[in-house]
Subunit: 310 residues, 2 copies
Amino acid sequence: MGILKSVKPIDINRTYISDSFRNLQDEICTELEHCDGQGAFKEELWGRDEGGGGRTRILQNGNIIEKGGVNFSEVYGPLSDQIADGLKVSRGNDFFATGVSVIMHPISPMIPIIHMNVRYFEVSSGEKWFGGGIDLTPIYIDVNQTKQFHSNLKSICDRHHHSYYPAFKKWADDYFYIKHRNETRGVGGIFFDRLGSDDEITLEERFAFVEEIGKSFVPIYTSIINENRNLPYEDLEQTWQKVRRGRYVEFNLVYDKGTKFGLDSGGRIESIFMSLPPEVSWLYNYQPEPDSNEAITSSLLRKNIDWINF
Amino acid sequence: MGILKSVKPIDINRTYISDSFRNLQDEICTELEHCDGQGAFKEELWGRDEGGGGRTRILQNGNIIEKGGVNFSEVYGPLSDQIADGLKVSRGNDFFATGVSVIMHPISPMIPIIHMNVRYFEVSSGEKWFGGGIDLTPIYIDVNQTKQFHSNLKSICDRHHHSYYPAFKKWADDYFYIKHRNETRGVGGIFFDRLGSDDEITLEERFAFVEEIGKSFVPIYTSIINENRNLPYEDLEQTWQKVRRGRYVEFNLVYDKGTKFGLDSGGRIESIFMSLPPEVSWLYNYQPEPDSNEAITSSLLRKNIDWINF
């Protein structure tokens, strides 16, 4: 059935999952600092009155990373009616949610922005599910690198279920879409939500998949960084980077459900907005030169590109 | 009754109003170019398939203005059900809308961002109303200048109706509010919408008020520019300007109804986003030094300050 045979029969629960996510945060921060070679994450702990809190870790002005965040949170308490309705679960329950969220804005326009998220949600009435994904936002799309990125994601997905890659690749295309620009945020990746147990797949198997996605982040991103870190660039590339970052802001503030959820539920504003890029421009009616690298990238910001066979 | 006695008994209609708004756009552009001394507006004409269009005029990289727009539009056609419902008017009608919208992002952090809008809306079932306002977003709040700004608006309002300034000042405070930051966008001004005729005030009188607001923009803003154009600034002030511009973007993309209406109704994206500032930063957890000028400005970004008697 395409399901990994070697999944260990561990008894997962909220403590096990949040511990695993805490370790994932530690591992990602250590490895990214190593790759950056200069920057160091600064940690801020925060709590919420209703229950739980998080560890926000931010690296600014590194050698490679201009601004990046690796956030862990574990929050719980009564589920508000508004959020219960939004999630389509019954009112009057408690919830538990834990996750790791990563976003990296590199200095060089030749290194893509990346975003990764893994999360677990549980309602006291019994529903349990995972969500997450990885997606890449190059300033300049390198077709071979994008092909490799999608191939890596497909390999991971295929080890867990044959349906995952096609479904979650499409989900990412549809999700990371800037409707008012009729363009995608980047080259997509995978995105999934509400993966609970069903007849075919247990919650343990879901977790094994989510865990592998989390662990794949460092090797996937550091290999892209190392391939691109010495590529030269000039003013034009930096201007285009600021324009592309503007589109990233537009997506996050207008469409992103995580941002909206955070703002609506009174989340910690600096942790929510750590996703926003450091230096951004909105230039009136900026149009790339015909046939330029910028124009080529623009032409590839669309849904439903079969990157692996491109 | 506080109503200006000298209102001319002109018979206003959509043609008269849109001609007046076209002239207002011309006048504002001429005077701003004169004040800037270097920049020139570039015009783009656009049309919409369903009816009407506009004149977008943008000035970039002037002597004073880094990016500014003065837009005129006159659009009409069938009212979509979605928009009819949003406006709480009956479905199945045609609409007519015309307006001028101004936004200026100066180079110097010592010169405030300003926004002005006047608009007229008509539904074929009979409803007619005006909306508009002026509001100021200083990077550094100058209390005396803010007092003068509000006094000027109050004088104009008072010439038309004693209820206008208190009601529209409060409306601006409530409207230009960044809920997730618990701070106002700037020092407010006046904001009003759906001013139709009623027992006390005719549509002609409403128009006389709206026209005076439009005409007041140039003298109000050019006097602020001329007072502040030679003030010195350094890196700190420019960093703070980019942070404050980030808040401006957050307001426009998350809360502004005009932006949302434009995006939802498939408006011309570059005309809608001409309001976004040119160079912007999001720095993680940026905190002004205690007692600094930045901290003083932050402390004044709140609703319900009685600026005139401050």
